[in-house]
């Protein structure tokens, strides 16, 4: 057993590193490579968390410009203004870090970090590909909703501790909105989870492999409607227009972040834009096939898994698995970006709702609709089973997939990609 695969816990790994005489010098080199791989992947995840918002803010400006018959940023960094966000970021970091006299200093300073940490924590459970996830968890879907619900708390505390009426109003609206919108969001997310029979994102993604009619959005008519319901509530949960009442520039100056400036202000936006990607990626995994492209290319790429073992003279490192994971991650990020584009598009074309309209949209329409969809989705397999003797219309049923999965796992598995273990361990 080589050092990379054997050292499954960081603790064990460090022990081995401190006692190199036991395994010889090659083991130590392998362990150092392991640490390096872990560091690279951890920083890649962090880079994704920081890099996507930079791209989205640029995209938002470009899209807004086009929708309003303007050009958007054109000059900074070449022809498309693609350095605009970075220039803004540098400007924001230089700004003075203000704390108002009326504010509650500790909570005021801490709440941007609370929102950002919650948003980043969601990235840790979010799988980018089949087997590429920082923290594997059997209850990943539940965990990610729990983590994302913490972001609201940062915003509410920020609004309350600012000592400003505008910020307080923004925070109150956000709290009222989030407490109500979490209910239909969770119920809509339950529908694909129920189809999959699992809270594990890996299982959910694997079940949607193959051609696009295996995606859960096409599983039954109720799941199809549930996707749109989920997307509306997800847009509300990341406080994007038309549900951006927490900041409502035309009414509340800037809402909950009125008193913030500089770096703390900018990490609020980091949290917001990366949460936009997180909810879109969750929607993509739950409804739109996750890292499967829906044309069958993913399956072709997946045959590479376990190929080209011992590439680059690293034992246990399979280049094929790595490439397949990279392809899956690219597909998922593309889907996430497409959904974020829809969010941006909606923001610049729909007017903002009033708070009472927001509340009645949720409580009078979305909650009953999602409850009805859930009930119908529960009854759907029963009706199908009694008429067609099959719980699903097309594709394999849940039990058949489980059997296939078991057969696959019964076969001798190729050694796990070292980087997965590395990323898991670093995140822990």
């Amino acid at each position: 057993m080589n050092g990379i695969v054997a050292s499954l816990t960081l603790e064990e790994f460090l022990n081995n590193l401190l006692q190199p005489s036991k395994g010889g010098s090659t083991d130590t080199i392998a362990l150092i490579a392991f640490l390096l791989a872990a560091l690279i992947h951890a920083s890649l995840l962090l880079g994704l968390f920081g890099g996507l918002p930079v791209f989205y803010i640029w995209l938002e400006r470009k899209v807004a410009g086009r929708i309003q018959d303007r050009l958007g940023p054109t000059r900074v960094g070449g022809s498309f203004g693609w350095l605009q966000t970075i220039a803004d970021g540098i400007k924001l970091i230089q700004k003075e870090d203000l704390v108002p006299k009326e504010a509650d200093g500790l909570v005021f300073r801490m709440s941007p970090y609370l929102a950002t940490i919650a948003s980043f924590a969601a990235f840790m459970v979010l799988p980018l590909s089949d087997g590429w996830v920082a923290v594997t968890s059997e209850s990943g879907a539940f965990l990610i909703f729990a983590l994302m619900s913490m972001e609201v708390l940062g915003i509410i505390l920020a609004g309350y501790s600012s000592g400003s009426k505008w910020a307080l109003f923004g925070a109150m609206r956000e709290a009222a909105q989030m407490v109500s919108y979490e209910i239909p969001m969770a119920i809509c997310a339950l529908i694909p989870l129920m189809i999959a029979g699992s809270l594990n994102f890996q299982t959910i993604g694997r079940m949607q492999g193959g051609v696009f009619w295996n995606w859960f959005i096409f599983h039954d008519p109720f799941a199809f409607i549930a996707f749109f319901c989920y997307f509306i509530t997800a847009t509300a949960s990341v406080k994007r227009a038309p549900f951006d009442l927490a900041e409502a520039e035309s009414e509340l100056v800037a809402g909950f972040h009125t008193e913030y400036s500089g770096f703390r202000w900018s990490i609020f936006f980091l949290a917001e834009y990366s949460s936009m990607f997180a909810v879109s990626a969750i929607a993509a995994i739950l409804f739109l096939g996750g890292w499967n492209d829906g044309l069958g290319i993913s399956d072709a790429v997946n045959t590479l898994r376990g190929q080209w073992m011992d590439a680059f003279y690293i034992q246990g490192f399979s280049l094929g698995t790595y490439l397949a994971n990279l392809f899956g991650a690219a597909v998922l990020i593309f889907k996430g970006c497409a959904l974020v584009f829809v969010q941006i598009w909606v923001r610049w074309t729909l007017p903002r709702l009033r708070i009472d309209q927001v509340m009645s949209t949720c409580l009078k329409y979305l909650v009953p609709i999602s409850c009805g969809l859930f009930l119908m989705a529960v009854l759907w397999p029963l009706v199908l089973a009694s008429t067609f003797q099959r719980p699903v219309l097309g594709g394999p049923a849940l039990g058949e997939i489980r059997e296939a999965d078991r057969r696959v796992t019964a076969q001798p598995q190729p050694p796990r990609n070292s980087t997965i273990a590395a990323r898991e361990e670093v995140a822990r």
């Binding site: 509650d104 539940f142 965990l143 913490m150 309350y160 709290a175 009222a176 809270l199």
Partner: protein
């Protein structure tokens, strides 16, 4: 080593947060410290590889209860920052209740025979590789040990869900028949909560009808 270190960090944070909740007078700071304390407890659950319990802790307490608490404070506060000053009798009563709870918990913990329990759970010593639980299970394949090996491999969600409807993995296979599940208690509790919610909504509504000018544009 690392897990020990993390345990001590989060255990300390949980205790510091809990003490700070009691010590501060500002309600919103209390909420902040409560987040620290409850989040650290959730982290301890994650360290015990009880993902579901940790996520439930985060969702219900941090994402739900604390948000509602702050929301309630924001809606009802008359001044900028609500302060709660405890009078000596209140402090005495709180200390008495807390002390009694501590006594009950300490006596309950000390009454458990931990030796037997730890013997039934595969120990993950720092040097043990992932093979160790399997080997340990092969030596003495007691159902409980098999169950705990299963939990370590696949997480706690499936056993929890099965136990919920009555297929409990914590019971030995020798005990035939279905164990009582947790469905009925769960339903009773949730109906209870629904009743409480309806009652709270009714009370809030009645108050607003008396003073119509009180509504500030928020439903």
């Amino acid at each position: 080593m690392i897990e020990q270190l993390l345990f001590w960090i989060f255990a300390t944070l949980a205790c510091v947060g809990a003490i700070a909740v009691v010590a501060t007078q500002n309600v919103v700071r209390m909420a902040f410290w409560l987040v620290i304390s409850l989040g650290s407890v959730a982290a301890l659950f994650f360290l015990l590889s009880a993902d579901f319990l940790g996520a439930a802790q985060l969702l219900i307490y941090v994402g739900g209860t604390v948000v509602l608490l702050v929301f309630g404070v924001m809606l009802t506060a008359s001044g900028p920052y609500v302060r709660i000053r405890t009078t000596p009798p209140e402090m005495l009563m709180g200390a008495a209740a807390g002390g009694l709870l501590l006594y009950v918990m300490i006596s309950a913990i000390s009454n458990v025979d931990w030796g037997e329990l730890t013997a039934s759970i595969p120990i993950e010593s720092p040097a043990a590789s992932t093979k160790a639980p399997d080997e340990a299970a092969q030596v003495t394949p007691s159902p409980r040990r098999m169950a705990s090996v299963e939990w370590q491999k696949r997480g706690t969600v499936r056993p929890l869900g099965l136990g919920f409807v009555g297929l409990r993995s914590d019971r030995d296979a020798g005990q035939s028949g279905l164990a009582p599940g947790f469905f009925l208690p769960f339903e009773i509790v949730s109906i209870h909560l629904l009743v409480v919610l309806v009652g709270a909504a009714y009370l809030a509504r009645a108050k607003r009808r008396v003073v119509p000018a009180d509504s500030q544009g928020l439903p």
